[in-house]
């Protein structure tokens, strides 16, 4: 039984028994991650008709995505897996979205705020560029790619991790995938007298 958790956009959770989706819950609110994460997990377990103790692995989305919300799902997945001693699969969100498009030649992008996009491109099921932060006008250099909305959810995270785990892809890096450094410059200190 796999529990997948993703807070890259809204707050969503999914439970899989093998390849079979037993339950999916999604809260659309893009700001209510901390509020919704508990109910999203409790409700998806109830929908799937299983108890927490029956979960055998946890999958989480590790971004790129707006990080304040993303970290809520990552923290919940990490502690859930730690508490039960379960393996945790950490999935790059754009990979999970691309996986649903098979071997198509695609450019997956999602909102990175500040008028920028998180971008990755795929061909024949392989990532060939990214993830990177780009300005919308920079996308024109990628010719011949079908543009795909990178909005992700726990079902996509779960499906990708099931395939990746079976295919020997390494999903063990459980840190958030940051593409920008924290938004600050060291302070020089300024004079108070003119």
């Amino acid at each position: 039984m796999l529990l997948a958790i993703d807070t890259s956009a809204g707050t969503s959770t999914a439970v899989f028994d093998g390849e079979k989706l037993l339950g999916f819950v999604e809260y659309e609110d893009p700001f209510g991650h901390a509020e919704n994460i508990g109910n999203a997990i409790a409700e998806v377990l109830a929908k799937a008709g299983i108890s927490a103790g029956e979960v055998t692995a946890v999958a989480i989305g590790r971004g790129p995505a707006p990080y304040t919300g993303l970290r809520v799902g990552m923290a919940a997945g990490t502690s859930f897996a730690t508490a039960l001693g379960l393996p945790m699969y950490s999935v790059m969100n754009l990979d999970a979205v691309a996986f649903a498009h098979g071997k198509a030649k695609i450019l997956v992008s999602s909102d990175a705020k500040r008028k920028e996009l998180f971008v990755a491109t795929y061909e024949s099921g392989e990532r060939i560029f990214g993830p990177a932060v780009l300005k919308p006008e920079e996308l024109s250099k990628f010719e011949g790619f079908e543009q795909v909305d990178g909005k992700c959810n726990a079902e996509l995270i779960g499906r990708y991790s099931l395939w990746a785990e079976a295919s020997g892809v390494d999903l063990s890096d459980s840190s958030a995938l940051y593409l920008r450094s924290p938004d600050v410059a060291p302070s020089a200190g300024k004079r108070v007298t003119g």
């Binding site: 807070t7 209510g32 991650h33 901390a34 509020e35 919704n36 994460i37 508990g38 109910n39 997990i41 409790a42 377990l45 108890s51 927490a52 990080y67 304040t68 919300g69 970290r71 809520v72 799902g73 990552m74 923290a75 919940a76 997945g77 990490t78 502690s79 859930f80 730690t82 508490a83 039960l84 459980s174 840190s175 958030a176 940051y178 924290p182 938004d183 600050v184 060291p186 302070s187 200190g189 004079r191 108070v192 007298t193």
Partner: protein, 492 residues
């Protein structure tokens, strides 16, 4: 029929019944008066409408043990289960106070009482020969073990990731990961840096706490998490982690107030927070003066900083003096070699300010005054003593903090002052606090430093108080509350 807590105002009534019940060996009125009045005892009476029974419990702080002092039911009211009811309430009280056992002595010939105690779970552990005189009857010593809840607490309000574990009022683990070093190049806490560090630290800190307590997650009875006040992005990591933990093992979850947690930390030092108390919480994020009458029900914010927190002022002045972050220890070290030669301003202490802001603080003017002093000397090419500036600045901060805290103690007639928060590490603050408290007949409490700075154990301790008091867990839907009021000890 009514159960009421007894106080010294009930002395005459209690003594009447005491003398009737124990004609041979009744307590003296003096003993009874001090029992009813003492802060470490809890006496309960049952009235119908006259007093028909009473029982007393004694709990010395820090012993994790309570004693049944006495129990008596009027002859004509026996056989109605009143003794059992009184005992059950005293057991509940002992549990709430964090005791891990309840002891009593009973006459070996009092078969009715012995069977009641056995039925309530007491076990005979010893006999005292001919303990009851003049009859020469043995006393059986009986003990009821009380299993206190094991609570795991998560703290992530600022730059410290803390996971603490307590059982009742006993500290089992206090694991901490600080991101302070990562903030040093920025000269202050950067919220995004702090939030990133929390996520990375959550697993290792959790594992460290469990290893320290020699427990596994299945041993934990409840989870507590600080949901405010603090940095939203940082709080959200702790909340996510706490909800994941609680759901993994289907444990009750308590969302608790970080600032009240600082006050609650003292239960881990001496088994209880003695109340009422004034609490002065001083850190890089807070400068708050609280009046705590009851840890769970009655916490009042008397005042707080209207601009910078005291710890922040230390950081800013350290920067003015060319010292690294965090500024507190740097200034403390430098000031040790200096003298208080400059009278820097004490914010909000002028008569007109004291009317409106008697218990509020302001440190931004002080920081500016220090910067102006330093810049003036530097511009004039004068040689000046950084150590003297540090000592004078520190003195101004300490003076205003303690003046207002002691005022609060006097104004409210509360002769206890509890310090908390990272700035308590400041040697001069501790020394001067002791001096002024001694001069004013105020008892000063300063928990050990690891319990003063932000930590998970204090959150666990406050959660444990809620569990022991029988409070309902929080729902799963709470979020981060950056500006959570101190009056909200638990978020439902």
């Amino acid at each position: 029929m009514q159960f009421l807590e007894l106080g010294k105002e009930h002395l005459t009534t209690v003594m009447d019944l005491e003398q009737k019940l124990f004609p041979e060996d009744a307590w003296s009125a003096t003993s009874m008066a001090s029992e009813l009045d003492a802060s470490h005892t809890y006496y309960l009476g049952v009235f119908d409408p006259e007093l028909i029974g009473y029982a007393g419990l004694s709990t010395s702080a820090g012993s994790f043990s309570s004693d049944i002092q006495t129990i008596g039911i009027a002859l004509e009211s026996r056989g109605q289960g009143l003794g059992r009811k009184l005992m059950q309430q005293l057991i509940a009280k002992a549990r709430e106070l964090g005791s891990e056992q309840l002891m009593l002595e009973v006459r070996a010939d009092n078969q009715a009482a012995i069977s009641l105690y056995l039925d309530l779970g007491f076990v005979q552990i010893d006999v005292r020969k001919r303990y009851y005189q003049p009859a020469g009857v043995d006393a059986l010593i009986m003990r009821l073990p009380i299993k206190q809840p094991i609570v795991l607490g998560i703290e992530s309000t600022c730059d410290e990731t803390g996971v603490g574990i307590v059982q009742g009022n006993r500290l089992l683990a206090n694991a901490l990961h600080s991101s302070m070093d990562e903030h040093s190049k920025y000269g202050g806490v950067v919220p995004e840096v702090a939030a990133r560090a929390h996520l990375e630290a959550i697993r290792p800190t959790l594992e460290k706490a469990l290893a320290e307590a020699k427990l596994s997650m299945s041993d934990i009875d409840a989870i507590a998490v600080a949901n405010g006040p603090g940095l939203a992005g940082a709080l959200m990591v702790g909340i996510g982690a706490a909800k994941g933990l609680a759901l993994a093992h289907n444990k009750p979850l308590y969302a608790v107030n970080h600032l009240v947690g600082h006050v609650g930390a003292d239960v881990l030092e001496r088994g209880a927070v003695e109340l009422p108390t004034i609490a002065l919480l001083v850190s890089g994020g807070h400068t708050s003066l609280l009046l705590v009458r009851h840890l769970l029900n009655d916490v009042e914010l008397l005042g707080e900083t209207i601009d910078d927190a005291a710890g922040e002022a230390f950081d800013k002045v350290a920067r003015v003096l060319g010292l690294p972050y965090p500024g507190g220890p740097q200034i403390d070290r430098l000031a040790a070699d200096g003298e208080v030669t400059i009278r820097f301003p004490r914010g909000l202490t002028l008569p007109k300010d004291m009317e409106k802001h008697r218990y509020d603080f302001s440190f931004s003017g002080l920081k500016t005054a220090v910067a102006r002093h330093v810049e003036k000397a530097q511009d004039a090419g004068e040689d000046f003593s950084k150590a003297d500036v540090a000592a004078s600045f520190r003195e101004a901060v300490v003076d205003v903090l303690l003046t207002k805290a002691i005022n609060a103690c006097k104004d409210f007639g509360v002769n206890r002052l509890l310090l908390g928060g990272g700035v308590v590490a400041n040697a001069r603050l501790r020394e001067e606090a002791q001096k002024r408290c001694d001069a004013n007949g105020i008892e000063l409490r300063i928990p050990r430093f690891q319990l003063c700075t932000d930590n998970g154990a204090m959150i666990a301790a406050l959660g444990s108080q809620l569990v022991m008091a029988g409070r309902q867990p929080s729902g799963l839907g709470f979020g981060s509350e950056s500006t959570l009021e101190v009056t909200q000890v638990q978020t439902p």
